[in-house]
Amino acid sequence: MSRAADLERAAGRHERGRLLTGNAAAAWGASLADVDYIPAFPITPQTEIIETLAEWVADGDIAARFVTLDSEHSMLSAAGAAAAAGARVFTATSSQGLLYGFEMLYAIAGWRVPLVLVNVSRALASPITLEADHNDILAARDSGFLQLHAETCQEVLDSVLMAYRLAEDARVMLPALVNLDGFTLSFTREPVVVPEAAAAAEFLPPYEPNHAAIRGDRPMAQGPAVLSGLAYSYFRYQQQLAQLNALEVHEEIAAEFAARFGRRYGLVEPFELDDAEYVLVMSNAFATKGKEAVERLRSRGLRAGLLRLRVLRPFPAAAIADALEGRMAVAVIDQNLAPGLGGITYQEVAAALYDRPRRPPLLSVIGGLGGKDISDVEFDAVFHDLRRAAAGESVRSPRLLFTQAEQERMQTLLRIAGKGAKP
């Protein structure tokens, strides 16, 4: 649909917002950020983002250059190069696409160019599936990109705007990934308030780089060979220091965003944590389901709570440890798997708590792989384990959330695939 028609229909109902998918919200974020350059390559479930932007560019609604590339590797190369030429760059990908462009993530972070890349999480092959888990985005955790993970469609839009502010801050100057879950957000419509363009422009002034902007009258070499560990150590560790700066800068930006738009996003989000004894740690869209479980358990008298991880890079270790220290027991639910190790964020949360004297028993739970639902009974089982762990019983960890009925269904699928009866 044309943007003019969309705006017209939205007029008069700004407070309630409008129904937007997560993908449309990401496109609105890019549009409000007044981006200059959008290199694109399609992949399910991301394609709707670039299709929407392509239409807006074609209709003249946004003044950006839209270019289709032949792969995600080329797309990210073009994105980084344009950002190095001083353009504000937006692009998006998902899953296999992110991995195909992977080499360029490290390169771009090293160039210190603050573009924003949206990733729509989708489980990695093999086997092939289309729904969300976080092995794609978490594979990029060491690249030097900042990472913001969104729970709602509103947060997708808001995070794109915040990501530009954070990435372009002179104390940071690193590219940023904004993550949303495939299907559970990307194709899900819910009410989203779209900020006024003028208010967004005030929050996010034009990008005016002077550190890495290549111009005709100011030639420079970007990303050169240094051929020495000495220089490499210096430059690579600068990324670490810039990431650490981003912890503080994010909180400044979040406060300004809240003052302007009335929505507050921290590095982490506490939910019913004040008096919570049994706490879930989750990220992204399924955190909504975790919150529902917390409320359900509270209505049955259990002091349950949830800590949502939002900014994953930089990793807010102190904020996480502060929120979890002293609880009766904590379970980190990872919608990802590092085979041979277990849940990825569990390891990082455990490290954050290691030097705290009142660190709680910490369970690792693997749930929602490939977008598999996490049902009420599975949440109940996690809280049951938490109470046993708090009582000093030994509890299996990591534990996969997988029910008897799912097990039986899997046996049927194996039979259909020609695997014969169970041995």
């Binding site: 649909m1 028609a5 229909r9 309630r16 129904l19 093999s126 086997p127 289309l130 729904e131 299907f183 559970t184 194709f187 899900t188 419509r189 819910e190 009410p191 869209a285 399924f286 909504t288 389901k289 919150k291 529902e292 409320e295 359900r296 209505s299 049955r300 977008g371 639902d373 049902s375 009420d376 009974v377 599975e378 949440f379 109940d380 089982a381 299996r396 534990r399 996969l400 959330l401 997988f402 029910t403 008897q404 009925a405 097990q407 039986e408 194996l414 039979r415 259909i416 695939a417 020609g418 695997k419 169970k422 041995p423």
Partner: protein, 315 residues
């Protein structure tokens, strides 16, 4: 209110779920709608979900225990991969698009709650003279069943049709279809409110969700520990010749019928059939395996001599 739509790829159930969503949003309610459609394979079972509430919705993804189930195609009822009646309770209303009457269906189905049915396909065909419009008919019928007004329902249709480029005549036919589908469904009793207040629409609903989850120990709900299985089982391979296990013949709504005298054996259909359902007989004329033919009608559209007729399946 939780509404789950089941259809086949191409029947427009994603659009139906959005028509309902937009209608409810127009009525001032909070909405969340989403589809799941796997690999977008025409004819394959798909589902879509619409949640409607008075306050923020704290749910995501599939709807396990719906208040209303809409089934766009009765063949799905007996399809093991679709399982449209999963999660039904005595309170769940099931709306089925079928020419079979509700009482007869109620007997065949192990469903506790109320079944409503009507032949929406014929209604669509009689008004639009195409099969396009099932999304409008079923989206609006669902809106009537959850208690939305005709005006709100039409607003939902208008919102969704803004995405399509329709001729004026087609647009008007669609609006007439929406009105008739609404009148049909409005005569049925409304879907009862959900028991948990979080997604109830009635003003008098209790303030907090006190309902427990499925009772502990309900069949199939306990967690299991996955065990190592040998690679012969635990690699994601599919052994060939498993088609009889996953027959796609039941997907068909229309059956392609070869009129042999019109066929010049050019093999276009043989090459293009996406399911490999067409073989060649001893004279090298096409031969359709109806156990496999899913009714996509690619052969019908691509045949240069128009050698295929089509026939509506009756089951």
């Amino acid at each position: 209110m939780r509404v789950r739509f089941h259809g086949r790829g191409g029947q427009g159930m994603k659009t139906a779920s959005r028509i309902l969503g937009s209608a409810a949003f127009h009525a001032g309610l909070v909405v969340q709608d989403s589809p799941v459609y796997g690999a977008e394979r025409r004819g394959a079972p798909v589902a879509a979900f619409t949640r409607i509430a008075k306050a923020a919705i704290r749910e995501r993804g599939l709807i396990a225990a719906p208040d209303l189930i809409v089934v766009a195609d009765e063949t799905l009822l007996f399809e093991p991969t679709a399982m449209p009646l999963a999660g039904c309770s005595a309170r769940t209303v099931v709306l089925i698009n079928t020419a079979t009457d509700a009482a007869a269906l109620q007997e065949r189905l192990a469903h506790l709650g109320r079944i409503e049915s009507a032949d929406f396909t014929s209604l669509v065909f009689s008004i639009t003279h195409t099969l396009v419009g099932l999304s409008t008919a079923l989206g609006v019928a669902a809106a009537a069943l959850v208690g939305l007004s005709l005006e709100e329902s039409l607003a939902g249709v208008a919102e969704e049709l803004a995405h399509a480029t329709l001729s004026r005549a087609a647009y008007e036919a669609n609006e007439r279809l929406a009105q008739e589908a609404y009148a049909l469904a409005d005569a049925w009793r409304a879907v009862p409110e959900p028991l948990d207040a979080s997604l109830a629409l009635a003003a008098e609903a209790a303030p907090t969700a006190l309902l427990a989850a499925a009772p502990a120990g309900a069949p199939g709900t306990q967690l299991v520990e996955l065990r190592f299985e040998p690679p012969a089982r635990a690699t994601p391979t599919i052994c060939v010749a498993n088609t009889p296990e996953r027959s796609t013949g039941s997907w068909r709504q229309f059956r392609p019928l070869l009129q042999r005298d019109l066929c010049n054996a050019c093999w276009t259909c043989f090459v293009l059939c996406p399911e490999g359902a067409i073989a060649l007989d001893e004279h090298e004329f096409p031969l359709i395996d109806y156990e496999v033919c899913k009714g996509c009608l690619v052969c019908v559209h691509e045949c240069p001599t128009h050698a295929f007729a089509t026939e509506k399946e009756v089951r």
